[in-house]
Assembly symmetry: C2
Homo-oligomer: 331 residues x 2
């Protein structure tokens, strides 16, 4: 059985330093359970397909789908703020950890800690990393802009991870660090460890897995793309009538929608209901030229829908080869 030990595997009691991102709508109990069974830690999304206001039954259903697997959960923080009781619904299931992303984690940190769950805060900059420490984060996820889905353009994984590592070493050495954004294979895991991370959080690669709740056609669409095919933009959220703070853009596939509206966000907003009708029509037709397909730059490093177990095995196997017998030699 494969294993790769770091401070993160020790702290979480897992075998491989891989967490799955609690991606809204697609990271359900089946995916989370599969990641845990493969040796990592799966995180169930706190956001279901009917929106945050109706996520309580989703959380119940997904914890049921995870069965007896030891999993965690995660929320989009600014959405949780509108339905704070959902945190209790999550904590009812005794998650190993609760991850909070995109917004102020401070109001929710005490409840997570009281429940005995580890508090994971995802950050996109040094400013947010310092805020996460102030909240008492047990684990910080440093997310670079190359990540799929929501994030910011402010920093890239390659520089944010070592800079947060330096901050933690200086001010909070027991806080662990996870890299996110651009990681989908063994090279990414090995590189993240070199940069100072204790492990990785993987989104897009698991989003395309067999256990993901994403539809097959949209997964195929993303798997066929190369890494140049994505863009970070507010256009998807505006078209889809999703009230994300504009600071957090979505990395989505470039298509007719982004070609037409990226850089003209105000005009798209001004369209109002007409634009939203067009989006709903495209959704009905599965017209991916007009829809926001969230995937990271890592799209260029993946081609097949695979079971989670196979994805994790390959990542760990490849990372170990690189870590133990790389292409360098001491002269």
């Amino acid at each position: 059985m494969m294993a790769l030990r770091t401070r993160l595997t020790e702290r979480l009691g897992i075998r491989v330093p891989i967490l799955s991102a609690p991606m809204g709508v697609t990271a359900g109990g089946r995916m989370a359970s599969a990641v845990t069974e493969a040796g990592g830690l799966g995180l169930i999304a706190g956001l279901g397909p009917a929106g945050i206001a109706n996520s309580a039954p989703w959380i119940e259903a997904q914890y049921a789908a995870a069965g007896n697997s030891r999993v965690g959960g995660g929320f989009i923080t600014w959405m949780l703020a509108s339905q704070p009781d959902l945190l209790d619904r999550m904590l009812d299931h005794a998650p190993v950890a609760v991850m909070l992303s995109f917004g102020d984690a401070a109001p929710f940190a005490p409840a997570v800690k009281r429940a005995g769950a580890l508090l994971i805060c995802q950050v996109q900059s040094m400013r947010y990393a310092r805020q996460a420490l102030d909240c008492g984060a047990d684990i910080i996820v440093a997310q670079g802009g190359e990540a799929g889905g929501h994030g910011t353009t402010e920093r890239a994984t390659f520089t944010l991870v070592p800079e947060v590592a330096d901050l933690l070493a200086k001010t909070s050495p027991d806080t662990l660090l996870i890299a996110a954004g651009g990681i989908g294979d063994g090279r990414g895991l090995a590189a993240a460890l070199m940069l100072g991370a204790d492990g990785v959080l993987i989104g897009s690669r698991f989003w395309t897995s067999a256990e993901s709740l994403a539809a097959t056609d949209v997964k195929r669409h993303a798997l066929a793309a190369d890494g140049d095919a994505t863009i970070r933009t507010n256009v998807g959220d505006i078209a889809n009538n999703s009230p994300w703070p504009t600071e957090f853009t979505g990395r989505i596939l470039r298509n007719d929608l982004t070609d037409r509206w990226h850089g003209k966000e105000d005009a798209l907003r001004a369209e109002g209901e007409a634009g939203r009708d067009r989006y709903r029509a495209a959704l009905k037709l599965r017209d991916f030229r007009q829809l926001a397909v969230h995937v990271g730059e890592v799209a260029g490093l993946m081609t097949d829908e695979l079971p989670v177990s196979r994805i994790v095995e390959t990542i760990i196997g490849d990372a170990e080869k690189l870590l133990l017998r790389g292409a360098w030699q001491r002269a």
Copy 2:
């Protein structure tokens, strides 16, 4: 004497897989020579302080300053297109390699090859990587958007490097790959090797070195910044009246200039001579709140002006420690 062997060190006949970026105006013969003497390969910029039209005497002077060191050179390709004879001035000095960045390398590739220099093409996307292969590049530099100075926001180092590595493995296995963007310490070098690079190109870290021709006050300003302090924008070039194609933005320190004009580029352009006068006045006063200070996200990983030899030694020493005895264990 320190050494770390890769395919790149073998091909170039050097001891450590580190090249210095041929940064316009600041990467002179003294810096290039110091990088070569430290075991890497220094590249002299083809662009001097009086502009590309007057760069011939600069090239002579900087090769003279490099003395007998084995160095290479580099050009901003779209600028070279306006003064193509400068390539011959560079080739007169038998550079080990010539690096071409930002523009179509095809017209210049044959002369570089005929002169027996290795052709290095810097790319920012898969599209440009394929073009570089079509030009017959011996070495491709994959530059992520986190890099200082000019580049694009299209891709990040963390995903671009492995994706180009896959392309090369499939279509041109003898072409070597260098990572650029965000690399300033041993962690970055080790991570780049994990991602599939044969070596690294370093800009900002050498730009702050003792041998850099950048002024002490501007170096200090950049060294004091953290990694959140930069932004990729056209504002610096517009204010400075530099006709860069807008596709290539400059990563510069956020300041009053970028706060005021980023996102309002057309208004800055419309100011015309008044805006340029203001910029020249700020330059005279060394008012860094109003000037474009080019530095990468790696600003957050460096604090001191150091000699090149010390920078290289530290990078190699730290990378070796990570590569040979990391924080992971086989279970």
